[in-house]
């Protein structure tokens, strides 16, 4: 080390330099190290080393030493490479040739030295537990045994993907995608609990996520049977293996794994998954309810957590969050955007999973002898090979298509099942973005449902046909075929109107029904029947008054648009007013109001910014600590300041920047090393400078 500078200085400058783009580093060094060639040379070498280091030290030394074992065999498994390290031993990617097919597995080895006492007990228990499990989101046991040296091993389904934490960090995963993954994890844990098993070490590192976003729960080293086994040893063991930051307070205090403990860990996982995305106070409430210190304060099961997250995804108020009327109504607006229907469809596709097992069982009866291979594919025999390309949805699509082809062969054809199967197939296709195929499937579904309805007019057959029609209307609308959508919607609504009241209400609460209402209204208006369309909407409005407020808002806004088109601007205005009186600051409202005042572009932008700020400020009243919202508010103030400055009002811009600066300052005090905040502060300072320095010319803000 040179005498001229200290390591701390080197570190500080190094950290600053690597934040810069590679092209700007030379200038930075020239500027910073003027007259200090030794420091400059050392920094340059360090930066080069940083760029050249590649995978240097990425793996810990013992893992390097472990790599020595790669290439050897255990049982029938060839150990290809180490892929991780569990609490009990090293995990390798193993491969095995069987009848010309290569099977891959994650091979976990418990080395002979550990074979005594609690470790061996746990390893045997893990094997026993895994052998009884079969769930799409849990890695399956393929093989187990021991080699001549006495090393035991478990071969588990090889999951080609990334651990949950890396998956969230390294790929651009949206909030709904994250939540869908989380819901699946909850389902896996719920499945465990329903089999009287607790996991005991749920954390992001123990969940692998495949390319298609399917999670797989791994590592059952701490799992145990509820109310069974040796509680003292499992508590002791759990203390050893448990992960601080994910283990529940009672587990940290020395009690063993439990259902509330798993719920707590799921809360930690949810918290991690939300950490780097903007999410609202309601999701934080879900997390906090999982993390309640007392067991009684938590959700009683993973299923309950999943249900609340599903509520969020479909824009219903979550149960954990007792928000104000504003909260409930804002959910209401969100529910009625296009995306919400898709979210519901995603939920519905879960139904297809149960359909799958039903058909699996039934077909296993019917076709066992003739269609051995198809059935083994469908019910997923443990020997099936997991290929990286295969994914849950395409497998499900294939299975349903399979089921359909068998159902179609049956005499007489089971019309209701066929209509249902085609409809479920279309849900999955729609979720996968295959709208055209989805529509084609629905045409089959409608045909079968129609035949079924014709052969037997009952509420069930009628509702089934309406269901397919409603969804067809929705998908056609999505593709822009408003006319077809309208035809289907009108027919569906006619069918629904003839349903007995108790069946009707259920159907009318579906989001698809709402969309159908709009499609039908539009179609009627186009064919000259404006009055009929308006009546449909008003009828919906009346229903919504007794059902819930959010529906009402959406209908009010659409009615306003309708009336404006029909030239009744007074009525449009009054609907708008009524909507406004619901005090719902959301995009939809904003757009409609904007359309009605027809402002200039600059004014539009400003009012959009102001409205968004109002929305944020309201949210902050509910949740003053919300970090993401506070940061967003500071950003908006800065944006507005720039906008205002561009139109010449420097005094107001100055005030806004100052407000932004104060907000950011408070945030930085709480979290001094947050990159995003530091960036924000830089931007604010730059904005401040620009606004102060600006007199005549318009500033260039990029």
């Amino acid at each position: 080390m040179s005498d001229e500078f200290r390591l701390s200085e080197l570190d500080r400058l190094f950290q600053q330099a690597i934040e810069l783009p590679a092209s700007g580093r030379r200038d930075f060094l020239d500027r910073i190290c003027g007259g200090r060639p030794a420091l400059q040379a050392e920094l340059r070498r360090l930066l080069e080393a940083h760029a050249d280091a590649g995978a240097f030290l990425d793996c810990s030394l013992p893992s390097y030493l472990n790599a020595v074992r790669s290439g050897t065999h255990i049982g029938r498994w060839k150990l290809v490479e180490p892929i991780g390290e569990g609490g009990l031993g090293v995990v390798y990617r193993g491969s095995c040739e069987a009848d010309g097919v290569t099977i891959h597995a994650a091979v976990k080895i418990l080395r002979a030295g550990f074979h005594k006492g609690v470790f061996q007990e746990r390893f045997i228990q893990e094997r026993a537990i895994l052998s009884g499990l079969d769930h799409p989101y849990i890695a399956r046991l393929i093989d187990a045994g021991a080699d001549s040296c006495g090393d035991s091993f478990l071969a588990v389904e090889f999951v080609n993907g990334r651990s949950l934490d890396r998956y969230c960090q390294e790929t651009d995963v949206s909030l709904p995608e994250r939540l869908n993954i989380f819901v699946k994890i909850c389902e896996a844990v719920e499945y465990l609990h329903s089999n009287r098993i607790v996991h005991g070490d749920i954390k992001p590192a123990n969940v692998m996520v495949k390319q298609d976003a399917t999670p797989k729960l791994l590592d059952f080293g701490t799992a145990r049977l509820i109310d069974a086994g040796n509680p003292e040893s499992s508590a002791r063991f759990s203390r050893l293996i448990m992960t601080p930051g994910y283990a529940s307070p009672e587990q940290m205090a020395g009690l063993g794994p439990s259902v509330p403990g798993d719920v707590y860990s799921l809360g930690c996982v949810l918290g991690d998954m939300l950490a780097d995305v903007t999410s609202g106070a309601d999701l934080a409430a879900v997390r906090d309810r999982c993390l309640s210190h007392s067991k009684a304060g938590r959700y009683s099961s993973p299923r309950e957590i999943a249900a609340d997250v599903q509520r969020y995804l479909t824009h219903f108020p979550v149960r954990a969050y007792s928000g104000s009327g504003w909260y409930v109504t804002s959910k209401f607006i969100r529910r009625n955007r296009t995306g919400s229907v898709l979210a519901t469809v995603a939920t519905l596709s879960l139904l297809a999973a149960s359909l799958l097992s039903w058909y699996g069982a039934r077909r296993a009866d019917l076709f066992a002898s003739r269609h051995r291979s198809a059935i083994s594919h469908l019910v997923g025999e443990p020997t099936s090979v997991q290929t990286p390309e295969s994914n849950q949805r395409s497998a499900l699509t294939g299975s349903i298509q399979d089921a359909i082809s068998h159902l179609e062969e049956m005499k007489p054809q089971p019309l209701a099942e066929l209509a249902g199967a085609w409809r479920r197939l279309s849900y999955i296709q729609a979720v996968r973005g295959q709208t055209q195929q989805g529509i084609e499937s629905l045409q089959h579904s409608i045909e079968y449902a129609r035949r079924n309805f014709a052969s037997q007019d009952s509420p069930a057959t009628r509702a089934a046909l309406a269901d397919s029609l409603l969804y067809a209307a929705f998908l056609n609308n999505r593709r822009g075929s408003a006319e077809k959508a309208g035809v289907h919607a009108v027919e569906a609504i006619r069918l629904i109107e003839a349903l007995p009241a108790q069946d009707r209400i259920g159907v009318q609460q579906k989001p698809q029904f709402l969309y159908a209402l709009f499609s039908a209204a539009r179609r009627m208006a186009q064919s000259g029947n404006v009055q009929g369309g308006r009546d449909l909407l008003i009828q919906g409005l009346d229903k919504s008054r007794s059902l819930n407020k959010t529906l009402q808002l959406r209908l009010l806004l659409d009615l306003a648009v309708f009336e404006r088109r029909a030239g009744n601007s007074d009525r449009a205005e009054s609907y708008c007013k009524e909507a406004k009186s619901l005090d719902l600051a959301a995009n939809r409202l904003r757009n409609v109001c904007k359309q009605s005042v027809e402002p200039t572009d600059a004014g539009k932008r400003e009012s959009a910014l102001l409205q968004e700020m109002t929305l944020l400020e309201k949210r902050l009243v509910l949740d003053p600590e919300n970090f993401g919202d506070r940061r967003q508010l500071a950003r908006l103030k800065l944006q507005l300041a720039r906008h205002v400055a561009a139109s010449g009002d420097n005094a107001r811009a100055g005030r806004l920047v100052e407000e932004a600066r104060l907000l950011a300052k408070a945030l930085i005090e709480a979290d001094p090393e947050n990159h995003r905040l530091l960036n924000l502060r830089r931007n604010i300072e730059r904005g401040l400078k620009q606004i102060r320095g600006q007199t005549h010319k318009s500033p260039n803000y990029d």
Binding site: L46, G54, F56, L65, R69, E85, R111, F114, C149, G245
Partner: protein
């Protein structure tokens, strides 16, 4: 054996506790290495955790305290292990022991046993100027601990640990490269 530089995490309690952990670690590891020959494998977390299991109930301040201690012991143990290997290498048939991280795609990272001893020495040098950074490398590279565990142990933020690690990696890489050219 590494020199007796005191690291901030365990200044007061180092020698005696470390001695206990190290002894235990060596006993456990010796069994493993003998049993699994001719392909000796080492699992840091497993070793560290088993040592912890055997020692738990005694007077450790916390789990992470024990883990940090154990990663210190692991460093000493591994350095001993590497020295033994080197001695065998010189005395016995000319086997080139190259440690290759085969599962990193692209350019594979090679580390020779000689270099591990170099890293150990460089770490002592680093510790004289910035003991925290040396601890980060010790826990990460020798102990196999995760960043959050290290952050918890050193009572600094996660980002600080990551930055320290980034700096140390470049610093060590540079120093090793200079050694090679010298």
């Amino acid at each position: 054996m590494t020199s007796g530089i005191h690291y901030p995490i365990m200044v007061s309690c180092l020698s005696e506790e470390l001695h206990v952990v190290y002894g235990e670690l060596r006993r456990i590891a010796a069994i493993h290495l003998r049993r699994s020959a001719p392909h000796p494998t080492l699992q840091p977390t497993a070793l560290v955790h088993e040592a912890y299991l055997r020692l738990s109930g005694s007077r450790w301040k916390s789990r992470t305290h024990c883990l940090a201690l154990a990663s210190r012991a692991m460093r000493q143990f591994l350095i001993d292990y590497v020295r033994t290997k080197m001695a065998q290498k010189r005395g016995g048939p000319a086997v080139h022991v190259s440690l290759e991280e085969s599962h990193v795609s692209g350019e594979a990272a090679h580390i020779d046993l000689d270099r591990i001893l170099d890293i150990d020495r460089l770490l002592d040098r680093l510790a004289r100027e910035d003991p925290r950074k040396a601890s980060v490398v010790e826990m990460r590279f020798f102990g196999g601990l995760e960043f959050p565990e290290i952050a918890e142990q050193l009572k600094v933020s996660l980002i600080t640990v990551k930055r320290d690690w980034q700096f140390c990696r470049a610093w060590l890489f540079n120093a090793l490269r200079e050694n090679e050219h010298a």
